[in-house]
Amino acid sequence: MIRLPMKVSAMACILSLAVMAQASPKAKTAPARAPGPHVPVDVPGVPPIQSRSSNLSDTSVASLEASPVLKAMGHELKRSMDSLRIKGRPRPYFLSYLLWDVESHHMQASLGSCEMADDDRQHMAEIDLRVGGFDEDNTNFQGGIVFGPRLRLPLPQENDTNLLRLSLWAATDAKYKVAVEMLAQKRAFLANHSGRDSLPDFSRQKVLTRYRAEPRTPPDTALTTALGRDLSGYLAGFPWLLESRVGYQYYYTTFHYVDSDGARFIETVKEHTLTVALFTQAKDGSPLWDYLRISTRDPLVLGQGAVSLAALKDSLAPLLKRMDYLRTAAPLANYRGPVLFTGRAAGELLNKSLLAPQARLREPAGTGAEPNFMISLAGRKLFPSEVTVIDTPSMAAWQGRSLFGNYVLDQQGQPAEDIVLVKDGRVKDFFQGKVPVLKAKGHKSNGHWRYGGGFPGVTLLRSSHPLSEADLRSRLGAMGADEGTGYGLIVSKVVDEDAFKLLRHPLAAHLAVTDGLDGRGSFSLAPPCEVDMYDSRTGKVTPVRGLSFPVLDTKSLRDIAAVGDRPFLHEPQAAYSVLCPSLLFTLLDLKGGRNTQPRLPYLP
């Protein structure tokens, strides 16, 4: 089966040894230096960075020049820029190719049997072709659909340059024809509408070249399979589990990039992820699940340390105990009161409220276009004054482990900059690429364009008045007493997309329900899978079930009453890193479970 490498997974960049600036054909640019790795001093408890430089292979112009793939892409790009034209219509003024070459290994095991141990290799190409000019081109427009040429030629499994060129040729032809018509649609729309923004559609930025190839570290497939069998076999000893599965995935992705401004790079990223997904039903039929996920850029040394069989069993023990308890516990009804987000859940809340909305910041022209609410908050208060949020793609490691969010050049070939997103509670900056989003002169990319939009690197949230975890819980209890509930809730884990994919049980789909759509200042969180009740009087912590989040509003962020002093690492889709401490909300709503639930199995 073709498994498209759509998932933003093995996407991590390693810090470079060098960035080589080249003279742009149109603008002379001074050689730029990549920012060196550093530890943000304002993150409490972060140990010194362990430099990864020593593990990296060489980087040189020669390596870049020698790449037959890059050469083939360059040939096709030049041919298109030189000759692609339709009489009376604009020629492309910008063209870039980003080629993904994804090597992977997947293993899945359940109840002691290996279900899959599969090596794969796939290619995928992203093409950015623009007609018009920097001020006005075919993009940033949401109009109708242009049904362009349907000729698509498959990319080869291996790096066959003839077939790569052939595929790029067909796709570029289609992109160009669609772009010409889309520009006409946009111009027609603008001719009859007033109030278009004054922002240019695209910008000229630095022209850089870079070569960075990490060594491949494919897993020992015999070891992954053996661990899968052993660990899933252990889970067979919990017959009340309706499904359990162990998964391992390794990705080694090489990005090849060329554009018509002269930028070129080759960059590799890696991912090693071990996941265990657990699923069952409570006595009333409602689905219950939990997961364990260990995901790193560094190779996982299976059988040792945290990924030894014994350590993994230990890590699973509290999850199993919680699920077993919850099977018979009564579900909680609708809740309004104080909530403490901790662990990965805190990072996910920051992700969904502040980071994810920045993927599409630019408001497109068009009848169906919606302005991005986040951009209107520039300079405005979003968090309480004690909160500052920064994004530091230059941060290579945390507590001795490489971070997925560390990279040097973004996917438009621009150098990643460390930026302050929120300072003293006010929105200061955004993830920006070559597409201007702010109405300010002299737009400059801050190197945060990845995976098709504004994208985080390593995001850190800190407070000027942090509290210890113990103090946070104590305040949670007090708030619960004041609210009249007599308790507060602690949310520590929400449904994880990657782990969720391991589940095949027909009832697992019930877990995927997330309320509403994001937009206009609201955001959605996946249902929580680890929620506890914190008793105001005794401080006792009891697992609870049956709750989910309604659509949340970013206004709620102002209700953050306190922030923890210890960041938790959350790395969604193994693509970026969020270091966020616990966040205590004064008042939030959670919905109770439905009255009707799927019945329990007929077959014991």
Binding site: H75, R79, S110, S113, M116, D119, L151, L155, A170
Partner: protein
């Protein structure tokens, strides 16, 4: 679903050739079929010694669990299952695609998938009874196509079986409650048949067969395919091309609560050549050539491949330069392969038994038993027991259908008189029985489908004489030309009542035969259309050149391999309509230069 399609090539991993022509629904079906039939994933985690497991042990595992689970389910609810079946397909496959001397894809693997069928009610009336005008958003989908470890069945298989059985029962129960209400509030049905006729239990094990050759042993064949694909290089107007190799060996296990216990193997393989261009007016033009086989032809001659490739390229050039033809009605010769698809679309789909039960189906032939429908020299039978025809392996060969019923030749039309329908265990008379045509991909309920549909003639003329007869018809009608359909891509037909009972046959290569004896002229841009009862009567003469169409047919129960065999036919009249045309220019730049 009332719209049915047949295509000449199996679902491919990379379907650029068919994407433009398939609706979204059919694309989804193709993808599903590809996933199921080609064994989408490789599973290399089993060691050589344990791969698969012993057939007898495996069958016993499923039989034991079937008995146990059926017994529990029959005690657990007031609505009880009366039938349960497990189907397990082990697929071993090789797949290879080349273009311009390079490799697009080279994959091999193994997979095991499970499908469960549960029925509640009785054989007379059960949960599969056709529902009328009821759109339900609370239906249970069941749980099908469950991937199992490719190793001797253990706890993982047991767990999957348990969940799948549970949910198949839930889905059946859900359907049954609703269909009972549906029947009570709707007008009485004409159908007096059975939703599930009884069938004698069958016990059969194919003798052990050799596994497919290892991937390494295919290097030589793949090298020839790569070399032949280099013939595509540097052709200005060739926009898409590939040569693909597909081989799969499917070991099918089936156990059911009637006592059937089956283990049999089906193999299919083909090498397919595909070329595509675009006329200046935007029309997409493509041609294919397939070589089918049962065992991997490691010594497949390069020259054969190269000659076929060159011939296709020559034809494609001719076609690109050919004029677009206007709409037409008049005499036509369907060359043998085109005649085979005509038989499949015009006749075959309308004699699928389950279509005679649903009130929204056209039921074209339901009242036509023992009535003359075509010229008396024509007979049609469907015979899945034939493995070869004229040395060509038949796609529609199988020994047991997907309900475990032995296949058998079924005469459908004898000397022009309509005789019978194709039946799965869903039948249209109270005493009816399956004739071994219940087919469906794993996870979809089997329905009556064709296998090898064979049009036989008792009176033939030399194929070349058909031209003379066509010219005679032209002179008689005063028409300047008739048409010859050399090759077709496939076709589709509507069998539902909500749309006209029409069919379309999509020719790939058509030429005009002139009444005045001028040389034939290749034309493009038309599809043959018609309605069944009229069209069958148009067959005036048959040639002596029967040939095989091998392809895949998509309908309610998924994409299944089928064959049709027919000689060339002369039709007194057939209608041709303009073909839908892509509204995009050919690529602006020539394809990039290929550097071997």
């Amino acid at each position: 679903m009332n719209s049915i399609r047949v295509h000449r090539s199996p679902p491919r991993h990379s379907p650029p050739c068919f994407r433009p022509r398939l609706s979204a629904a059919f694309s989804a079906l193709r993808l599903l079929a590809a996933l199921i039939l080609l064994g989408a994933h490789g599973a290399h985690c089993a060691t050589a010694g344990e791969r698969g497991g012993k057939t007898e042990d495996r069958l016993r595992f499923y039989q034991d669990h079937l008995r146990k689970y059926l017994s529990i389910l029959q005690k657990s609810d007031s609505i009880k299952p009366y039938f349960l079946a497990y189907r397990i397909n082990d697929t071993l496959y090789h797949s290879f695609l080349a273009n311009n001397g390079g490799v697009i894809e080279d994959k091999s693997g193994a997979s095991r998938y499970l499908g469960v069928e549960a029925r509640v009610g009785t054989g007379k009336f059960d949960n599969t009874h056709p529902m009328r005008e009821n759109l339900d958003f609370t239906a249970w989908d069941g749980y099908q196509n469950i991937r199992l470890p490719f190793e001797p069945e253990g706890k993982a298989a047991e767990q999957a079986l348990k969940v799948a059985t549970d949910f198949a029962f839930r889905a059946a129960k859900d359907q049954f409650i609703k269909i009972k209400a549906n029947v009570d509030v709707r007008p009485a049905e004409d159908d007096t048949g059975l939703d599930f006729a009884s069938a004698a239990p069958v016990r059969h094990r194919d003798p052990p067969s050799l596994p497919p050759p290892p991937r390494d042993s295919l290097d030589g064949l793949y090298a020839k395919i790569r070399k032949a694909s280099l013939l595509f290089a540097n052709r200005r107007h060739l926009y898409s091309s590939q040569i693909d190799f597909n081989y799969r060996k499917v070991k099918k296990l089936l156990v059911n609560s009637d006592g059937t216990s089956l283990a049999h193997t089906e193999t299919l393989g083909n090498i397919g050549i595909y070329v595509e261009t675009k006329a200046q007016d935007g029309m997409i033009l493509w041609l294919t050539r397939d070589f089918f086989f049962k065992e991997v032809p490691r010594d497949f001659p390069y020259d054969t491949l190269a000659q076929a490739t060159e011939a296709l390229l020559r034809r494609l050039d001719t076609l690109r330069a050919a004029p677009v033809m206007e709409t037409y009605v008049g005499p036509v010769i369907l060359q043998n392969i085109a005649a085979a698809v005509f038989t499949h679309e015009v006749f075959g789909h309308r004699v699928e038994g389950h279509r005679q039960k649903a009130v929204d189906e056209g039921q074209t032939f339901v009242t036509k038993i023992n009535q003359g429908l075509a010229a008396p020299f024509i007979s049609i039978l469907d015979d899945p027991t034939r493995e070869f025809a004229g040395g060509v392996p038949l796609n529609g060969y199988y020994r047991f259908d997907d309900e475990g019923v032995p296949s058998r030749p079924t005469p459908l039309m004898a000397e022009g008189v309509f005789r019978d329908f194709l039946f799965s265990r869903s039948v249209i008379s109270p005493k009816g029985a399956s004739n071994g045509h219940g087919r469906g991909v794993l996870g979809m309920a089997p329905t009556a489908r064709m296998g090898n549909t064979i049009l036989q003639v008792s009176r033939t003329v030399p194929a070349s004489a058909l031209r003379d007869s066509l010219r005679a018809l032209l002179k008689k009608s005063g028409k300047p030309y008739g048409l010859l359909l050399h090759d077709i891509s496939g076709g589709f037909t509507y069998t539902g009542r909500d749309l006209p009972q029409s069919f379309r046959v999509e020719p790939l290569y058509v030429s005009q035969i002139f009444a005045d004896g001028r040389p034939d002229k290749v034309v493009r841009g038309v599809d043959a259309v018609g309605t069944p009862l009229v069209s069958l009567r148009q067959v005036a003469l048959a040639g002596d050149d029967p040939a095989v169409f091998n392809g895949y047919c998509g309908a309610e129960s998924g994409w299944i391999p089928v064959s049709a065999v027919a000689p060339s036919l002369l039709l007194e009249s057939m209608e041709f309509e303009s073909r839908a045309k892509d509204q995009n220019m050919p690529p602006i730049l020539p394809p990039p230069e290929v550097r071997p």
